[in-house]
Structure formats: structure tokens, C-alpha cells
Point group: C2
């Protein structure tokens, strides 16, 4: 057998994102040993039983010096502290990537906490999962044909970016690159805003005296529109806070869009309504995404 | 064989709604003869070939006198003229119902055009279908376990309402009753507003110079949120115009909700965001609808 591309990877946070990364690299025969760290011993033991981990790590100082790839797959709010704790122990050739949904804040945390090791950090956002969470939900094909966005830093060498790209591609992902700022602006528009709007609609209805009557007549349109309002409040609070500036700009634009529609209704401007709806339908109909 | 409950029904507009009504009553052995009218001869012939119609009508004056139930399943915009044309020919025991998505405007059209026959009209809104249309999409179980809302008028006798309720129940529907005003307020909130918001988001993105980049990173949250933005622009223009007042009130409330969220973001009020998201998730999670 040929030598695996990565002799050792270390995962911090062995849930859906981290566990699936390990399983995918195993399936690709691209990894020698997988070591995991996490806050819950029970989760780590479960991950070991599921074949995600070879070993549960006990001391980062011992495990990080010879690691090829370190994946930070904890909630974004925990990353700054985690980065500070691992920075002194990273080996000279160890590369770090992450699975956070926002990038500007993660990059800021990295700059503040990785110090001279900043060039070894290649930020990533895998666009996968959401409904389920936890090690038990991890699967080797989670990233198959999904997008992963890298947001490389000026300090990264091309070789370092290429190596992290290889890792995600071996997981089956289609990897693209944006700057952290581009990333956050794009996802404010196509992901964070829709989540906020969906939460807002259900919250609006939830305040009514007749909410049970209203909800009893809600049908498939409501079902689809509000599916994402069942997402984790804590996770979306953190994403909205982390990407506040871009999200506020998107929300402001959207409120202007609604002002225009309110005006069209007030003026009984049927042509304007049809124009907006037709343009939307055309673009949505041509969308070839998931 | 026992006599069917309805010896003759007449359908105006033999598409998804009208065709499925006929097929469902046939399957329930509840109808003797089904006669159809429509603007397209090709559609009527297709409906006959599909076993939806026994005959294609040629003169309402001949067909309506002995009809038990007349279903108006045309677009709402055509109903006023249609009502005026059928009013003189309705038999004394003929009942009329409809399949329109809005009720205040249909009732107004009925009051203006059915004259002394207004007591024979029992308005209905079947909550089914949408993605597909046309006679070929009609199916006997379209209304099975779906909701149908009747909005009876003060002039209707209890017997007339009961008879129309029987017809929809024989189609498999769960029938409930609201006033036309209640109906339009409820559907403005749980259906018309979400459609407007979904169209608005896609239209907003469609205006951008970087729209292709944005859409290339849109994923499953966007997909679900915008599914209804692929709905018929003409139909939704008409629904929005027909239910303008109630929809403007809902849109105004929603814009206030967004103002509150914009303020929370501006003030970095994470607790407020989590409170809104948690309440929404709880209500959406407990929703037992479709």
C-alpha cells in the first residue's frame, strides 16, 4: 500500500462537520491516523466507536507537532480561545483549516491568536449539513459534490492553500476561493438574510392572539418558506452577530425592496407587481443550484 | 346501483382544480353526468379523453337549469363576467361554488352579478395544487386530506351550505368555514405574504451586478425559501391585487418586525436575536401542518 497523503490529522470538535471530514478522508485512503479533541468525553468515545477517530487526544502539546492537518470544527464562538491554546504547539509543516460559516470573524480571531503561525491557517467554509448535528450524524459522503469555500490569507503560501484544497477535494467537495470579505457578503445575501426573514415571519405570526387559527391554515408554501426557521437559534444568533455588518446591509436593501412592493400595492400597480414576480420567477427557474 | 347524490355537475374551467373536482366525485360514485365549459376547445377535448367530462357543453342556457352543482374554476379575474352570463340560467335548486384563492373579491363579484340568485352561491377555497396546472394534471385524490375553506354568505340556507360541504367532503377534503373577511386575513398572513417575500428576495438578488456569483453559492436554505418564487406571476399578481388591503396590513406588520431585527443587529443585541429565533423555532417545530 502507498503512503497516505496525510499521515496524521487532528480534529477539534468531532460533530457532523469534523466527523464527516475524518470519515471522508479515511474512505479516500488519504489519512494514516485521526486524533480527536472535544469538550464531551462521551461524544469522543462515541466517535471512536463509530470509527471516526483512531485515538482520543489528551494533550495538544503532544499531538500537534507532527500533524499534517488540524481541523477546527467547533462552534465559531469557541475558536479564538482554541486557536490561542494550539498556536504554541503547531509543527512547522502543520496546516490548520476550519469549518466555520462566517469568515471575517474567524480570520480576525486567527490574526489575534495564532501570532507568527498565521500563514499556516487556511480558512474554509464547507456548505453542507445543518439539519442534523453530532458525531452520530457524520457520514463519509457529506461533502460529496458540495461546495467548500476557501478564503486564503495573503500570508498563505500557494503550496499551503493547495494542500488544504486537496484535503477538501479528497472529501468529494467542489472547492472555490473568495476573500473573507467576499465570502461574508455573498453568504449574508444568499443564506443569512433568508434565515433571518424566515425566523421573522414565524415570530411575527407567533405574536398573534389568533396564531393557532392562522397556523391551522398554513400549507405547503408556508412549510417551504419556514423550513429554515426550525434551525438552531444559538447557531444563527452567532452567525448573525459574526456577520452583522454585511447582514445589516442586506437587510436594509431588502427593506427597500419591500417598501417598493408596499407602494405598488398602495397604488394598485398590478404591472409593477407582475414585473417583480416575473423577474423573480425567471431567475429562480434558471437557478441550477441544489 | 343507487342514484348518485349529484345527477349533474357543470364545470367552468376544466384545469387542475375543476378537473380534479370532477374526477374525485366520479371516484366517489357521487355524480351522474359531468359537463364542461372552457375557453380552449383543445383543453375540453383533452378533458373528455381523460374521462373528466362526459360532455363538452355548448350553451349554458341549456345545461344549467337541471345542474345540481356548478363549479367556477376559472381564474378569479374572469369570474365576474362568467357569473353574469350564467345567472339567468341557473335552476331553482342549482348550487354554485368556486375554487378561487381569494374570497372578498369573489363575493363582491357574486353580489354584483348573480343578482337574486346570490343565495345559491357558496364560495369555497380548496387549499391544494399550485405547482402543476391544466386538465392533464387533474387527479381524483388531489383534495384527499387537504383543507377546503367555505365562506358562506348570510343569504345561504343551511341546507345549501351542507350540500356544497358534502360535495367537497366527497372529494376527500377536510372542510371548514370562515367569513370571507376572516379567510382573506388568514391567507394574507400564511400564504400571500410569504409568496410576496420570496419573490422579493429573488428579485432583490436579481438586480445585482454579481448575481451569478451570489446564486452560485446559494444552497438548500435558499432553495426552500425561494421555491414559491417560481410560482405563476400572473396568478400571484391577481391574488395580491384581489387581497390588497389585508396583504398591505400584513406587509406593514412584517416590515415592523424587520425594523426590530435591524435595530437588534445595529445594537449588537444577541439576546434579542436569540429570543426571536427561539420563539420562531418553537412555533415552527410544533406546527403539525403539511
Amino acid at each position: 500500500m502507498s503512503e497516505p497523503l496525510f499521515k496524521k490529522i487532528v480534529i477539534f470538535g468531532v460533530g457532523l462537520i469534523g466527523g464527516s471530514f475524518a470519515l471522508a478522508l479515511r474512505k479516500a485512503n488519504a489519512v494514516g491516523e485521526v486524533v480527536g479533541f472535544g469538550r464531551s468525553t462521551a461524544t469522543l468515545q462515541q466517535a471512536q466507536q463509530l470509527g471516526i477517530l483512531d485515538r482520543i487526544g489528551s494533550d495538544p502539546a503532544v499531538e500537534l507537532g507532527d500533524a499534517d492537518i488540524v481541523l477546527l470544527a467547533t462552534p465559531v464562538g469557541q475558536m479564538a480561545k482554541l486557536m490561542a491554546s494550539i498556536a504554541p504547539h503547531l509543527g512547522a509543516h502543520t496546516l490548520v483549516t476550519d469549518g466555520g460559516s462566517t469568515k471575517g470573524d474567524v480570520v480576525a480571531a486567527a490574526r489575534a491568536n495564532l501570532g507568527g503561525k498565521i500563514a499556516q491557517f487556511i480558512p474554509a467554509h464547507p456548505i453542507a449539513g445543518a439539519e442534523k448535528s453530532g458525531a452520530a450524524a457524520a457520514q463519509a459522503d457529506l461533502y460529496q459534490d458540495k461546495k467548500v469555500v476557501l478564503t486564503p490569507l495573503p500570508e498563505n503560501t500557494p503550496e499551503a492553500v493547495m494542500q488544504v484544497r486537496r484535503a477538501w477535494e479528497l472529501c468529494g467537495a467542489n472547492v472555490s476561493e473568495l476573500t473573507p470579505q467576499q465570502h461574508d457578503a455573498v453568504f449574508a445575501a444568499v443564506s443569512h438574510l433568508p434565515h433571518l426573514l424566515s425566523f421573522a415571519l414565524v415570530h411575527d405570526l407567533a405574536q398573534r392572539d389568533n396564531r393557532d387559527l392562522l397556523l391551522s391554515f398554513a400549507a405547503s408554501g408556508f412549510r417551504d418558506f419556514t423550513r429554515i426557521a426550525a434551525s438552531s437559534p444559538e447557531m444563527w444568533r452567532d452567525i448573525c452577530m459574526a456577520n452583522r455588518e454585511a447582514l445589516m446591509e442586506e437587510l436594509g436593501r431588502y427593506m427597500q425592496e419591500l417598501e417598493g412592493l408596499h407602494k405598488a400595492l398602495a397604488e394598485a400597480d398590478a404591472d409593477k407587481l407582475e414585473e417583480v414576480f416575473s423577474e423573480a420567477r425567471k431567475v429562480r427557474g434558471n437557478w441550477t443550484g441544489q
